[in-house]
């Protein structure tokens, strides 16, 4: 019998529907993989094997009665621990929310359960989704299942902030996982671990019940092994939600049914500003191969310009911390989460002690930057200026999309780096998101697909950015790459 944990979303859904195997068998297989890998990879903060089994039993029962199984029927998934799960600890990988058990379920996770998915557990991440390497979690680093081919076995970053999600999918602990992307947090970890992931247009997926980081940027999306699996899961996650003021009131397209790797008549833009001096040779070569693949799929390749690209990261590192400093003001030791009340402390001292104890160093750094750029006298020079630059970055994309249908670029400037290599220098860590952040600032759909291995045997991703609402165009270009890259590498099971 095939190892069911080698199957992706579509294969599990179809196999369960046909009766080739049961949903319970699938859940048991992944539950076993989760348990076996936890000590080595630390991908989960909490495992919920009974939840996965409960959903699987419900799916098998529906099938026995001849009822429809749903878009994700019988598929167990990992849930990034940024989505509120009713009755299950939800921490955002922080100490301040340790022990917090929401009384409600996030809209996106509820939609997935309604579609027949089951929960394997809550996935580790960078604390409050702030990080690019999963090294800021209060619950410890996630270790990438990938290793360099030099035999050194140095532990590598799974990317961040959705590092538990990327590690779990790459290591076959889950066929798919939810991610959230504020400035690359789905795409960069997907690229680092040889999987696919899509951030849809801002507003496609409800933010209700997702722990907020930077509300004008945060978007949920799926991470899975291939483009079809992402399309299926995104259909289950997306949709209008009256509880999110920025939710798009649009019907959810049938992205899976619309998949086509034939790009005849499509134009692919190559942004010249992304070809930076000193670019990693393997990344540049992978980008060139991607261009040839899309030509082979029938697309015409055109040169486009995104002139404000170099200002995207600095604008992001004003806007995101500003929004974070405001969003994270809610953690005060009064309503939920940690309370640190030193002897004789007054209310203000309790706030300050609780937040000092409950937030990690990177979270504090961003709250302080955000507080500073929003403070009286500095607001216009920093925050208003950054929002004006954000308008220009968005206009850059609008101009480029008069000449092309999608944009192709690398997902990240390097392959996965070693744990500990970047932590001492926050700026160099921030620069890892240089190719991912512009699409976030413009709210555009963007996806990473595996494109090959570098000389160290580590995965590289290619990124496709599309027009607002054109997830289909992004998925189709991703599929065209996937069909030609034929990426089949996976990490050896050393754990």
């Amino acid at each position: 019998m095939t190892d069911l944990t080698e199957l992706g979303v579509a294969a599990i859904r179809d196999g369960v529907a046909k009766g080739d195997f049961t949903a319970v068998e699938v859940a048991e297989g992944f539950n076993a993989n989760v348990a076996a890998a936890q000590a080595a990879l630390n991908a989960f903060i909490v495992a919920t094997p009974e939840k996965a089994l409960e959903a699987a039993r419900a799916t098998d029962a529906r099938r026995a009665k001849g009822e429809p199984l749903g878009k994700m029927g019988g598929v167990p998934i990992g849930m990034k621990d940024l989505f509120a799960s009713k009755g299950v600890q939800t921490t955002a990988a922080s100490h301040i929310l340790e022990g917090f058990k929401p009384e409600y379920e996030s809209t996106v996770s509820q939609k997935l359960w309604d579609a027949g998915a089951g929960m394997l557990g809550k996935l580790n991440l960078d604390q409050f989704a702030m990080g690019s390497s999963n090294e800021t979690s209060y619950f410890g680093n996630v270790i990438s299942p990938w290793r360099r081919n030099d035999g050194g076995n140095a532990p590598l970053a799974p990317g961040g902030s959705s590092g538990g999600s990327s590690a779990a999918v790459a290591a076959r602990l889950a066929p798919a996982a939810t991610g959230t992307d504020t400035g690359g947090s789905i795409r960069q970890p997907a690229a680092f671990t040889g999987i696919a992931g899509i951030k849809p247009t801002y507003g496609r997926c409800s933010r209700w019940g997702i722990v907020a980081f930077a509300s004008s940027l945060d978007q949920a999306g799926p991470m899975a092994r291939d483009v079809r699996d992402c399309a299926i899961m995104l259909e289950a996650m997306a949709g209008f939600d009256p509880k999110d003021a920025t939710s798009l009131n649009l019907p959810v397209p049938e992205w899976e049914a619309g998949l086509s790797g034939d790009l005849k008549g499509k134009k692919v833009g190559i942004p010249r500003e992304y070809r930076m001096d000193g670019m990693d040779a393997d990344v540049a070569a992978s980008w060139d191969r991607g261009i040839e693949w899309l030509k082979d799929a029938g697309a015409e390749v055109v040169d486009v310009s995104l002139p404000h690209t170099k200002y995207a990261l600095p604008a992001y590192y004003i806007i995101a911390p500003a929004e974070a400093s405001s969003n994270l003001a809610r953690y005060d030791g009064v309503r939920y989460g940690l309370r640190d009340l030193p002897d004789g402390a007054n209310l203000q001292e309790m706030y300050a002690a609780t937040r000092a104890d409950g937030f990690g160093a990177e979270v504090k750094r961003r709250i302080l930057i955000g507080t500073y750029v929003l403070s009286a006298g500095f607001y216009d020079a920093y925050y208003t200026q950054a929002q004006k630059v954000r308008t220009l970055i968005s206009q850059d994309f609008k101009n480029a999309f008069t000449q092309c249908d999608v944009i192709l670029a690398p997902t990240a400037p390097t392959a996965a780096f070693g744990l500990g290599d970047m932590v001492s220098d926050p700026l160099s860590m921030y620069l890892n998101d240089v190719f991912a952040v512009p699409a976030s600032l413009a709210g555009l759909p963007a996806m990473s697909v595996p494109a090959g291995l570098n000389r160290e045997g580590l995965p590289l991703g290619l990124q496709i950015v599309g027009k607002a609402f054109d997830e289909q165009g992004v998925l189709n270009a991703g599929l065209a790459i996937e069909q030609r890259a034929r990426f089949s590498a996976k990490p050896g099971r050393w754990w």
């Binding site: 929401p102 247009t201 798009l248 600095p314 004003i318 939920y336 302080l368 500073y372 954000r390 926050p426």
Partner: protein, 100 residues
């Protein structure tokens, strides 16, 4: 613009985060490095450019003015609201004495 120890102490106080002098000393160069880097935004000509307010054009909705239209976000759920409070007292959030 750059920050000194007094400014970092002031920001930390505004952000309600207790910091030690050693932490402030470590943060000053870090924050200055980041602030110096973001200051390149000043080079950009933004004359006539409106600051972004909505990344995808959307219009704000008004919900129907109905009490408890959504039971989950409506009222009458005191137990759920207090369920995660670190120190609930008599059906309220408990805090240290505020009035002297």
């Amino acid at each position: 613009m750059s920050v000194d120890t007094a400014t970092v102490a002031k920001i930390a106080s505004l952000a309600r985060i207790r910091v030690t002098e050693a932490e402030i000393a470590a943060m000053v160069p870090e924050l200055n490095g980041i602030l110096a880097w973001v200051e390149q935004l000043g080079e950009v000509d933004v004359s006539g450019v409106e600051p972004m307010t909505a990344v995808i054009e959307n219009h704000l909705r008004l919900r129907d003015d109905v009490i408890d239209a959504d039971p989950l976000t409506g009222g009458g759920v005191r137990g759920a609201v207090l369920a995660n409070a670190p120190a609930p007292e008599h059906g309220f959030f408990g805090v240290p004495k505020v009035i002297e």
